[in-house]
């Protein structure tokens, strides 16, 4: 190196050329003025992500979260693998909470109503106003809130006590009937805990447990574990009992399409069979059991007596079983009794203490709607001076019949803590926007013995002057001269956790820091409830299906949407554009109708109908669905907002309308409808839950029609192609691995944290790559070059679609709007295909629905590559089919030639239309694609590169550790169905998982594409045709 360039000179040259490049630039846009950090924040390194632990507040499940931030902006949320609920996964809604954080429609300032109109105000003004009004309300203060963490609950209770008034908890979705039934049956005021994974036969009586309810992510994981084939070639059986197949139901092996509301009859009929003549086993419920013999149950439910008897036999004999009681969609007027019936069934089958535990839970009993009814009455009666609403949107989630709007409107001073507009805050006199949970301190106690701490992961988004409601209450309390215990909520929270200290932790502060880092504190678990004798109800309960209102010929099912919940996610374009896991429809509402019903009325997909109940009517297009009974129609909650932000209201997000006003693809008719319009306002007795299954409806075609904004092209059939083949359990070959290998350990570990657990080899072979004769030289040093590959176990995949949103968030995939989806231009890099093989809504029997996540298959012999005229796509030496965006000229030949149809094109300037600050979510490690280029799954190349660079820096060689790189989709998958890694390494998980007799590659036998994605066939109990 004597004559070579010196280091100093090299740096000079580098500096000069670098500056030259920066000045002349290759950018087409003028550079903005950049300001460097004057004082470098300690925990921010430009270009390096900082991760924070926190807790998701997307629903009541409270999954632990890790949040990736870059330069102080949250850009991705992932499950916290140390958290017992999320187990490292998240659902689609959890992923979409980021879009709430950056929701451009959030209130920018406190809003004060003046002369009938809202105007921007200051916090000082708002807090003074509130203090003044509370003072003059003289003790008549009502605080309506949704579920909150224990500290926040404590603070609000303290506040309400100090100023005089009361707090009402109102949750739009709640498990109150189950809680009440558990209290009646066992005297435990808590939800039971299930061991789904431990069951060999799971019967869901209308419980959509992987999409709504207490803990969807956890239960999806458990369901996958239960129903996956194990090393003994056996798998748990899942039976769904209910009038409509939700995405939970679509995962079942058998379907009992019972009449709506007949869950109790079937459960009791089964219990009757199980106890035989010995009805005394049911304790105080013996007379009930006698009343529901299998024959009368069969009549009540509309399925054969034989089917019920057989199911009961299996329930008793097929190992540990478990039955889950009706969830929100099946909450009718006797929902508590129905849940009780299911608990009785579990009891007589011996499941209590085996798969169902009575642990006790956090002491937050609620009577969600009954309490609200009382509150509405007192508001209407003029007994409330100031009403404050936090975290709930009853003006939308309650039917008009509840009288909420009138009563609320009648209150003298209405305060909303909504951070973004909703129907309730639109009526408020004062809006004090709360911070988003990712900007807030807090805690939660999702179950007994588990306390989780929430910390802000970033400074509040500067576009919005939001303030934590806890801070507001403390500040207002001070103005009213009440000492609530602290000046900021942070202090208050720390004081609440003063008992955090354990001797092992040393100082309290260490314990606090540690808890923040981990995100959870295990507190004392209340003793397990051991007295499991059934107790008699204190009031009479009816187990029959209750009569429904109206004389229509169709029963209306109203179910919580897996995408929107009760409506709180309706302003997220990711959620709106995520194809519904069942219907595959995006953006708009639809009414599910059985094919026979539709045929009898001459209806087709997209025909508008008027749905009329005694309480109102809505106009909605129909979607024909074989997974619903002929006498039933279904409508999802969550849409039809009037004041919830641009996308929910249907005023944002259509590209074509901007481009060509007169185009023929304008979405016709309404975007969404709110099914609450059709419902009465009834509180279930005795639990006080809101009754959703309450009415019959008539449907009448309006003569209008629209194209459904669906992403499904084939009407549910595989058309004789082995896209998602299955294999019958009985035809699994002995001697070859067929089990779903457990991959959970270490899979969800973060970068460098560790978790590499080598799996012993048993006959895995690396996939042949590169192919003979291809441009790539053959591998002679497998230790130096990886062949990245993926394995997806279809026996585990539930179709929940969390992966789709995770991918969208990680890879800056734009949403495109309803009109673009209708034209077939959705941009998601993954799609969940759903094919019906056997769906019969007329009788109980086998159910066979195939669900397959499709993404770029990273073919070793990729058809897309030779056709590209400019080499914009090619196979990397690691077998990844790479797409070079800035080389792409947009011929779309690659997409034409892709047999999997996984390539998506940027038809318009989609990313430019993403409004500030929603674009703050963009991942800086991933290119934001412009108009006119092709894109597709990149195997999260930015994650691969990051890990490879780290491995190089740490002198670990060119290939990162197995499990060190985790795909975004894989990370989010609650079922742990996706595995990714180096298939050249026989010890890698992906090799282990792929070495399975169920492994196949889609269409490879037909067209020799040599994909890098191995699928493991779904395993069915019934024989399947064409098992290849």
């Amino acid at each position: 190196m004597t004559d070579g360039i010196k280091r100093r000179d090299f740096l000079k040259v580098l500096g000069v050329t670098g500056a030259g490049a920066a000045l002349t630039g290759c950018s087409t846009k003028p550079a903005e003025r950049f300001l460097p950090y004057l004082t470098m924040p300690e925990d921010i390194t430009p270009g390096v992500a900082t991760w924070y632990t926190t807790v998701c507040e997307g629903c009541a499940a409270q999954c632990g979260m890790w949040v990736k931030t870059r330069s102080g902006r949250a850009i991705k949320v992932e499950g916290n693998p140390h958290h017992p609920i999320s187990g490292g996964a998240l659902c689609a809604k959890g992923q979409a909470t980021l879009q709430h954080l950056y929701n451009p429609d959030r209130y920018a300032t406190p809003m004060v109503r003046e002369n009938g109109a809202l105007r921007a105000g200051t916090w000082e003004e708002a807090e003074n106003l509130l203090a003044e009004r509370i003072k003059s309300a003289a003790g008549n203060v009502l605080f309506v809130s949704a579920h909150m963490g224990p500290s926040m609950t404590e603070l609000v209770n303290g506040f309400v006590r100090s100023v005089g008034g009361r707090r009402v908890q109102y949750d739009a979705l709640s498990d109150a009937p189950l809680r009440e039934a558990t209290r009646i049956a066992f005297g435990v005021d808590a939800l039971p805990r299930y061991d789904i994974a431990g069951a060999r036969l799971l019967v869901s009586f209308g419980s959509d447990f992987i999409e709504t309810g207490a803990s969807p992510v956890e239960r999806a994981r458990e369901l996958a574990k239960m129903s996956a084939v194990d090393e003994h070639r056996s798998k748990g059986r899942f039976v769904y009992v209910g009038p409509r197949l939700s995405i939970t139901g679509l995962n079942a092996d058998e379907w009992f399409p019972i009449k709506p509301g007949a869950e109790a009859a079937v459960a009791l009929g089964m219990a009757n069979v199980i106890v035989g003549g010995n009805t005394a086993a049911a304790g105080p419920y013996a007379p009930v059991l006698r009343a529901f013999d299998p024959r009368s149950a069969a009549t009540a439910a509309g399925v054969s007596e034989d089917a019920i008897r057989k199911l009961a036999d299996r329930f008793m004999n097929e190992g540990p079983s478990l039955a889950l009681g009706p969830g929100v969609a099946a909450h009718h007027r006797n929902a508590t009794a129905a849940n009780l019936a299911v608990l009785i069934l579990n009891k007589v089958a011996g499941n209590v203490g085996r798969t169902l535990y009575l642990d006790g839970g956090p002491n937050t009993p609620t009577r969600p709607y009954a309490d609200m009814e009382a509150a509405i009455r007192s508001m209407a009666g003029g007994k409330v001076g100031v009403v404050m609403i936090h975290g709930a949107n009853p003006a939308y989630t309650l039917p008009a019949a509840s009288g909420f709007k009138d009563a609320f409107g009648a209150v003298g001073f209405k305060v909303s803590f909504a951070s973004a507009p909703d129907e309730t805050s639109a009526m408020a006199d004062l809006i004090m926007p709360d911070t988003h949970f990712l900007e807030s301190w807090g805690d939660s106690e999702p179950r007994a013995g588990l306390m989780t701490l929430r910390q802000p992961v970033m400074l509040p988004v500067p576009h919005f002057q939001a303030k934590h409601t806890g801070d507001v209450l403390l500040s207002v309390g001070k103005r009213l001269e009440h000492d609530l215990g602290g000046t900021t909520f942070y202090e208050y929270l720390r004081a609440q956790h003063a008992d955090l200290h354990t001797p092992a932790m040393g100082e309290w502060e260490y314990g606090w820091q540690d808890a923040l880092k981990k995100g959870l504190v295990q507190t004392k678990v209340p003793p397990r409830h051991t007295d499991t004798q059934l107790r008699a109800p204190h009031s009479a309960l009816t187990f029959d299906a209750p009569p429904l209102d109206g004389d229509g010929d169709l029963t209306l099912l109203v179910y919580p949407s897996p995408r929107f919940g009760a409506g709180e996610f309706a302003n997220s374009p990711w959620m709106l554009e995520l194809p519904d896991p069942v219907s595959k429809i995006t953006w708009h509402s639809w009414l599910e109708v059985n094919p026979a019903t539709a045929k009898a009325r001459g209806l087709e997909d997209g025909d508008f109908v008027t749905v009329t109940s005694p309480y109102g009517s809505v106009k909605v297009p129909i979607w024909i669905y074989p997974g619903i009974r002929e006498d039933t129609v279904a409508l999802a909650m969550g849409q039809g907002h009037t004041n919830f932000g641009r996308w929910a209201d249907g005023t944002g997000g259509n590209f074509m309308s901007e481009v060509l006003p007169a185009t023929a693809v304008q979405p016709a008719g309404v975007l969404g409808v709110n099914p609450m319009t059709l419902l009465p306002a009834v509180a279930e007795q005795p639990s006080g839950a809101f009754v959703t299954l309450a009415t019959k409806v008539t449907i009448e075609a309006t003569g209008e029609q629209r194209r459904l904004a669906t992403v499904e092209g084939s009407n549910g059939s595989q058309e004789g192609r082995p896209i998602a083949p299955a294999v019958a359990l009985a035809s699994l070959k002995p001697g070859e691995p067929a089990e779903s290998p457990s991959v959970e350990k270490g899979l969800k570990e973060l970068q460098g944290v560790g978790g590499f657990v080598p799996v012993p080899a048993h006959g895995g072979t690396p996939q042949a790559f590169p192919l003979e004769g291809s441009r790539e030289p053959p591998y002679d040093k497998p230790e130096e070059t990886a062949r990245w590959a993926m394995a997806i176990d279809l026996d585990k995949c539930t179709g929940c679609s969390a992966c789709v949103v995770a991918c969208q968030a990680e890879n800056n995939v734009p949403y495109v709007g309803e009109d673009q989806v209708m034209m077939g231009r959705e941009m998601q890099w993954m799609r969940i295909e759903r094919y019906y093989e056997k769906v019969d809504a007329t009788q109980a029997g086998d159910l066979d629905v195939r669900i397959l996540p499709m993404l770029c298959q990273h073919c070793g012999n990729a058809p897309c590559e030779p056709v590209c005229p400019v080499f914009a796509t090619y196979t990397t030496p690691q077998g990844v089919n790479a797409q070079i965006y800035n080389r792409c000229v947009g011929t779309r030949y690659c997409a034409n030639n892709c047999p999997y149809k996984v390539r998506v094109f940027n038809w318009l300037r989609y990313t430019e239309h993403i409004p500030e600050p929603l674009n703050w979510q963009f991942n800086p490690d991933c290119t934001v694609r412009d108009n006119g280029v092709m894109e597709k799954c990149s195997f999260c190349m930015q994650r691969v590169r990051e890990a490879e660079n780290r491995a190089a820096l740490e002198n670990r060689g060119p290939i990162p550790k197995d499990g060190e790189i985790v795909m975004a989709c894989q990370q989010s998958c609650p079922a742990e169905a996706i595995v990714w890694g180096n298939i050249r390494d026989p010890n890698s998980r992906v090799s282990q998982v792929s070495a399975n007799q169920r492994t196949y590659r889609v269409l490879n036998d037909e067209i020799n594409t040599q994909p890098a994605v191995n699928y493991l066939k779904q395993v069915t109990f019934h024989p399947v045709e064409a098992e290849d």
Binding site: R825, C868, C888, N897, L1003, E1006
Partner: protein, 458 residues
């Protein structure tokens, strides 16, 4: 120039008696245009504005203004590309191949056919640009030296297209221009003023000397020989855009001959479509006789039979191949949502031209003209059917989607006809639309006395 032995009984232009007459008749067309011409000029000019206006909208907004979507990435634009390249083919066939084969009837029609070729390639060549997502990077498809040492992907049929179409345009434009030189000189001699100066420049000093004729003849022959293989190669290459892909409905070895035959078929039909009104307007009946149309009609019939055979062959092989995917694709093509396009195509290309078996039809100019319009429509639809129905119904049933062309695509489609027509219209006023010098070759030598004697004593 090659002389063609013509017997008196087989005169192609029995009503043309004198060489001078030819000059006068043809150069007359170049004189001051009438109202009809101006009306057409403005109409087509407006169409050209529509063409570029629509394209400008697309460049500004993005390709999304077209109706394309994710499975159907190619639609009207590529249909038009293939259609116009196909149209181009018969010009070269008539001028080069028939020249080499010494067909005596080509002289009257070949100039118009050649002009058609050049303008059709000019139209076709725009479509690959129009259809690009990022048209401003189109030059990346050319192998130009660059600092990144990136060449185009020579495996891609689209690169073959680039070479095929540019070569074709170069050769056919040169051929067209070269063949016109003696006629431009004739026009020069018959014009005055600015016009004369213009012709003086582009006639390249043609004086009609023996030496010039000698060189001209050689050059023409060589160019004809050079252009001939292009007739076969260009459309074969275009067909490989499809045949090389694995899309069911595209992946077929029959595509090259099938497309070449189709191209000639559509081109001949387009020649008939264009020449019939020219003949009528400029009273060229004595130059474009019924014999010419009879010959064109026969060429049309032959290619119609080849194309029909290809259709049947495709049906048979799809059935015989027993691939689920291919069969479904074909079934969808014939009975799926695009059935109307397929059946219209079959009617126009397979059934209607069978009328040409009848001499009476071949000798009826209006009937021929109508049939040629049918063939034009049918051949456009053929490309539409191949491209759109195949892409909309591929391997993945979940991604079966339909394509509906948008207003912008309609604008560009209509605009492309206007763009083509606009050039052709200008051509008819600028260059002699019938080859004067070559026509004279097939006229009997000027033996005034003998002719008079014959007339006197038949």
């Amino acid at each position: 120039m090659a002389t063609v032995a013509t017997e008196r009984g087989a005169l192609t232009h029995p009503d043309v008696h004198q060489f001078d007459e030819v000059n006068k008749d043809i150069v007359k067309i170049l004189s001051r245009p009438g109202k009809g011409w101006w009306a057409l000029f403005f109409l087509l000019g407006a169409g050209v504005l529509l063409f570029f206006g629509s394209w400008a909208i697309q460049l500004w907004k993005g390709l999304g203004v077209a109706g394309l979507n994710d499975p159907v990435g190619w639609g009207v634009y590529i249909t038009c590309f293939v259609f116009w390249v196909g149209i181009a083919h018969s010009g070269t066939l008539i001028s080069a191949i028939l020249f080499l084969f010494r067909a005596p009837w080509r002289q009257a029609v070949y100039r118009a056919a050649e002009a058609m070729t050049v303008f059709a390639v000019m139209t076709a060549g725009l479509f690959p640009l129009i259809h690009l997502g990022r048209a401003w990077h189109a030059y990346w498809l050319f192998p130009y030296p660059n600092s990144r040492f990136i060449w185009p992907n020579f495996k891609s049929p689209l690169i073959w297209d680039v070479f095929a179409v540019t070569t074709y345009f170069t050769v056919s434009a040169t051929f067209f221009f070269l063949g016109s030189i003696p006629d431009i000189a004739a026009a020069r001699d018959g014009s005055t003023g600015l016009r004369k100066r213009f012709y003086q420049v582009i006639s390249l000093g043609w004086r009609g000397t023996d030496r010039q004729w000698h060189h001209f003849g050689k050059a023409y022959l060589f160019l004809a020989a050079l252009a001939t293989p292009l007739v076969l190669s260009v459309h074969s290459v275009v067909s490989w855009d499809f045949a090389m892909a694995i899309v069911p409905g595209w992946h077929s070895t029959i595509f090259a001959p099938y497309f070449v035959a189709g191209a000639i078929y559509s081109g001949v039909a387009m020649v008939i479509t264009l020449v019939v009104p020219m003949r009528k307007v400029w009273h060229l009946e004595k130059y474009l006789t019924i014999k010419h149309f009879d010959a064109l009609a026969k060429l049309c019939l032959v290619t119609a039979l080849i194309v029909s055979y290809s259709y049947l062959e495709e049906f048979f092989l799809t059935w015989y191949g027993a691939s689920v995917v291919e069969r479904a694709s074909l079934w969808n093509r014939m009975f799926g949502p695009y059935w109307w396009a397929s059946w219209t195509m079959l009617t126009c290309n397979m059934f209607v031209p069978m009328l040409l078996w009848f001499k009476r039809i071949r000798h009826s100019i209006p009937a021929l003209w109508i049939i040629s319009i049918f063939v034009n429509i049918g051949m456009w639809l053929e490309r539409f059917v191949i491209i759109v129905t195949s892409l909309s119904h591929e391997y993945e049933p979940f991604m079966w989607r339909l394509y509906r062309p948008s207003h912008v695509e309609a604008g560009i489609l209509i605009g492309s006809f206007c763009w083509f027509g606009f050039w052709f219209l200008l051509f008819t006023r600028v260059l002699p639309p019938v080859a004067i010098s070559e026509l004279k070759e097939v006229l009997p030598p000027p033996m005034r006395k003998m002719r008079k004697a014959e007339e006197a004593h038949p």
